[in-house]
């Protein structure tokens, strides 16, 4: 057991740290981007640099333009990148989830057309899965694709699409055979987000922010050549994407306050008995926050160790989000309560209190996004502990004859 880098890991870290330091100078001291164009331009320039220097697609197979390295290298790069001024985020979904699906299930032609350009950062991708009536139950989607000669015509609505308004292409799950059972009538495609009939509208959240979009499809045409996997195999293809998602998500949002933030806040709050940080109930909450937050971090390190030894980390990873989101809501509420009436007044942007206020709203969303607490508990119980699934209506009923009970 050893928390430190091995000699090879240390050497790799040294190398990337130097390269990142050198190449992120131009981003230092830049404020937040003022326009979408500026935001995209910065991200593109950084992705291009990584691509040119051989730091894009670190774990991808070499034949798809990747570096063919292990997860540990990828993590080391991300850690160092995270400490720098590098503008990141826009490619997480495209390169983390969409393109791996494309190179796993797309034709050679499609791979040649899309993968290198995406890795270089020239084209930005989004994932079009959730629908208003199909969130947790992804296989319940209704967006239709109908064949018309060599093309497919897509009609329907997607929702919770990250950055759809900035994207060039997306991968979309559609229903191509409504008379087949639910999981068997689905097909996945690549769709050009600039096509006629595609409209992305920002979706305002409870928090006031708009990190997601609704995307409407009105007679949008895609060539059959852009199909991912066989007709009717959309569910299997989507699972590939989601498998990659599971590895990508789970951590705590960067802005979310941890035990240290609560400790610091409590130290400043004077009570009749001295600082709030000395009170047993507050200390208990600080301890809980550490146990949850740091426990999740350690659990992720366990998974990473397994990965780097060539083992597959199990759905044990699912514990991450179920712990983190609720913890974030609790710690934020506690901080607001401790701050008494001041906790209710809209805080100075960027202040500690502001982080707690944002997190109190953000957490309500995080408990839902990417699988609700309830779905994640089901996954743990069924896949890890082997408990039987919820009793459900028959699986082989044609989708268009399903009647909810």
């Amino acid at each position: 057991m050893d928390f430190n880098d091995t000699a090879e890991e240390a050497a790799y870290r040294e190398k990337v740290r130097a390269w990142i330091a050198e190449n992120t100078k131009e981003y230092e001291g830049q404020g937040a981007a003022k326009t979408n164009e500026e935001f995209v331009a910065r991200q593109k320039s950084w992705q291009k640099k990584k691509y040119d220097a051989g730091y894009a697609g670190i774990t991808w197979p070499k034949k798809f333009g990747g570096q063919g390295k292990g997860p540990m290298e990828s993590i080391i790069f991300s850690q160092e990148e995270g400490k720098s001024a590098a503008p990141t985020g826009l490619y997480a979904i495209g390169l983390g989830m969409c393109i791996p699906t494309v190179f796993t299930h797309g034709s050679q032609e499609v791979v040649d057309r899309f993968v290198p350009v995406a890795l270089e950062g020239e084209e930005i991708w989004c994932q079009l899965f959730s629908e208003p009536a199909a969130g947790s139950d992804l296989a319940g989607i209704r967006t239709k694709a109908e064949k018309d000669g060599d093309e497919w015509v897509i009609n329907g609505q997607k929702v919770w699409t990250t950055n759809a308004h900035l994207c060039d292409y997306g991968i979309i799950v559609t229903r191509t055979d409504p008379s087949a059972p639910k999981h068997k009538g689905l097909t996945m495609f690549i769709v050009d987000m600039h096509s006629e009939g595609v409209e992305a509208r920002p979706l305002k959240q409870m928090s006031g922010g708009s990190d997601f979009n609704e995307v409407f499809f009105d007679d949008v045409r895609v060539p059959d050549a852009w199909r991912l996997g066989d007709e009717g195999q959309g569910w299997q293809v989507a699972l590939t994407t989601l498998m990659n998602e599971r590895l990508a998500v789970g951590g705590k949002p960067r802005y979310s306050p941890d035990w240290r933030a609560l400790l610091n806040l409590a130290k400043e709050i004077e009570t009749v008995l001295g600082p709030a940080s000395e009170q047993a109930d507050v200390r208990e909450e600080i301890a809980k926050a550490y146990i949850n937050d740091h426990g999740v971090k350690l659990t992720q390190q366990r998974a990473l160790s397994a990965l780097s030894q060539g083992k597959t980390p199990g759905p044990e990873q699912s514990i991450s989000k179920v712990v983190v989101a609720k913890q974030m809501q609790e710690i934020s509420r506690i901080a607001l309560d401790l701050s008494e009436s001041q906790g209710f007044v809209k805080a100075e942007p960027g202040s500690e209190l502001d982080r707690f206020q944002s997190s109190y709203f953000g957490a309500a969303g995080l408990r839902i996004a990417g699988g609700t607490d309830e779905i994640l508990r089901n996954i743990i119980a069924e896949r890890v502990l082997g408990l039987p699934g919820d009793l459900r209506p028959p699986k082989d009923t044609p989708f268009n004859e399903l009647k909810p009970v």
Binding site: Q205, S339, Q342, F344, R392
Partner: protein
């Protein structure tokens, strides 16, 4: 023994509920939120005044109907249920302060206006981070002039007069300030609740009258806690109904999500927390009405339990709605935000659970 509200009180409650069902609720709240120039819904305020809701506790001699705590509590519940975007709760608290501690002159000056709707009152205790309703305020009185800053004060931007806490001789006490005075400066302050307006009242030697003793202040806290508990219960019940209605209709994996125990048990927990809080709040209403010494503990229990119930329900209402519940368009946000507002109105959970235990200790010591 009769541990239930009187039929008369229930009838009044039903009237209020019918009116608010039609005019208030999340849609009315949204309209106020969306209009930056609108601090409250004047039509609803007028309607409530016509219904006599501001007059219920005002004695007949001052133009009111002189009803008791039971009626006031049930009206507070309906205001909470309807997220009513009008300064009714604030005015109720203002009224109680005058009833407990106001001199005959003070009552005669302000209560008729409360009853006829020409006076909007508000109540302010907060002064900054970590202050509790029992802390000695920084606001001081000297030579009839009050100096200090009270913030956030619900409905202050639209109120004619305020009852605020200040440093009395032997503890915090109440003072009455006419907000129409030029030197009483009220500025709008943005809070997490986007519907109910809040303000900062800045006082620099503003003429103000003391309102009773510091013992009166403590009694006022108890009554205010009971009224706010009923407001919280109304809000909690509305949020729970919203969640339950959705769980009956939303389908996932071929069945209505309300069939899943994960959802069902969550709904049951909302109900259990609500009923426990309701029992304590009713106990508080009785003690308030009867002038019982049990009021101190009943009020603290009601406040603690109702904050737990409304907070839990507001949070889990979003959760039960899934993604749609997290959108701006969903009404979930109103309950999520209002739960914070109710908490900020009179000291948060920790203060009240401690006050509860203190009063239990006293009772225990007396019994021993």
């Amino acid at each position: 023994m009769n541990f239930d509200f009187s039929d008369d009180a229930r009838t009044l409650q039903d009237q209020a509920r019918r009116v608010f069902d039609e005019t208030a609720g999340p849609d009315a709240a949204r309209a106020v939120m969306n209009d930056p120039d609108k601090h409250y819904d004047e039509a609803i305020w007028k309607q409530a005044v016509e219904l006599g809701l501001t007059a219920i506790r005002v004695p007949e001699e001052h133009g009111g109907v002189g009803l008791g705590a039971e009626e006031a509590c049930l009206i507070a519940e309906e205001i909470g249920r309807g997220l009513v975007p009008a300064p009714l709760i604030s005015t109720m608290l203002f009224t109680e302060a005058l009833l407990i501690a106001g001199s005959a002159e003070q009552q005669a000056k302000w209560l008729p206006g409360v009853a006829d709707g020409s006076v909007i009152g508000c109540f302010g205790w907060g002064e900054g981070a970590s202050q509790l309703p029992s802390s000695m305020p920084d606001t001081r009185m000297a030579k009839g002039g009050l100096t200090g800053t009270k913030s956030p004060v619900a409905d202050a931007p639209i109120a004619n007069a305020a009852v605020v806490s200040y440093a009395g001789e032997d503890g915090p006490a109440l003072a009455l300030v006419d907000l129409s005075r030029d030197d009483a400066r009220v500025t709008v302050v943005e809070t997490l609740d986007l519907v109910r307006p809040h303000g900062t009242i800045e006082l620099k030697g503003v003429e103000a009258e003391p309102l009773g003793t510091s013992a009166d202040y403590q009694d006022f806290l108890d009554r205010a806690a009971v009224l706010l508990s009923f407001e919280a219960l109304g809000t909690q019940d509305a949020a729970m109904r919203m969640a339950v209605d959705y769980a009956k209709e939303r389908v996932a994996f071929g069945q209505r999500i309300g069939r899943y125990q994960g959802v069902k048990h969550n709904a049951a927990d909302m109900y259990v927390k609500g009923e426990l809080a309701r029992a304590h709040a009713m106990h508080g209403a009785w003690a308030f009405q009867a002038g019982s010494p049990e009021l101190r503990q009943a009020a603290a229990a009601a406040r603690t339990a109702s904050l737990d119930a409304v907070t839990y329900t507001a949070e889990e209402n979003v959760q039960m709605h899934g993604g749609i519940g997290y959108t701006w368009e969903s009404n979930c946000q109103f309950y999520y935000r209002r739960a914070r507002a109710i908490s900020a109105m009179l000291g948060s959970r920790g203060f009240w659970s401690d006050r509860l235990v203190r009063s239990l200790e006293n009772r225990n010591a007396e019994a021993a």
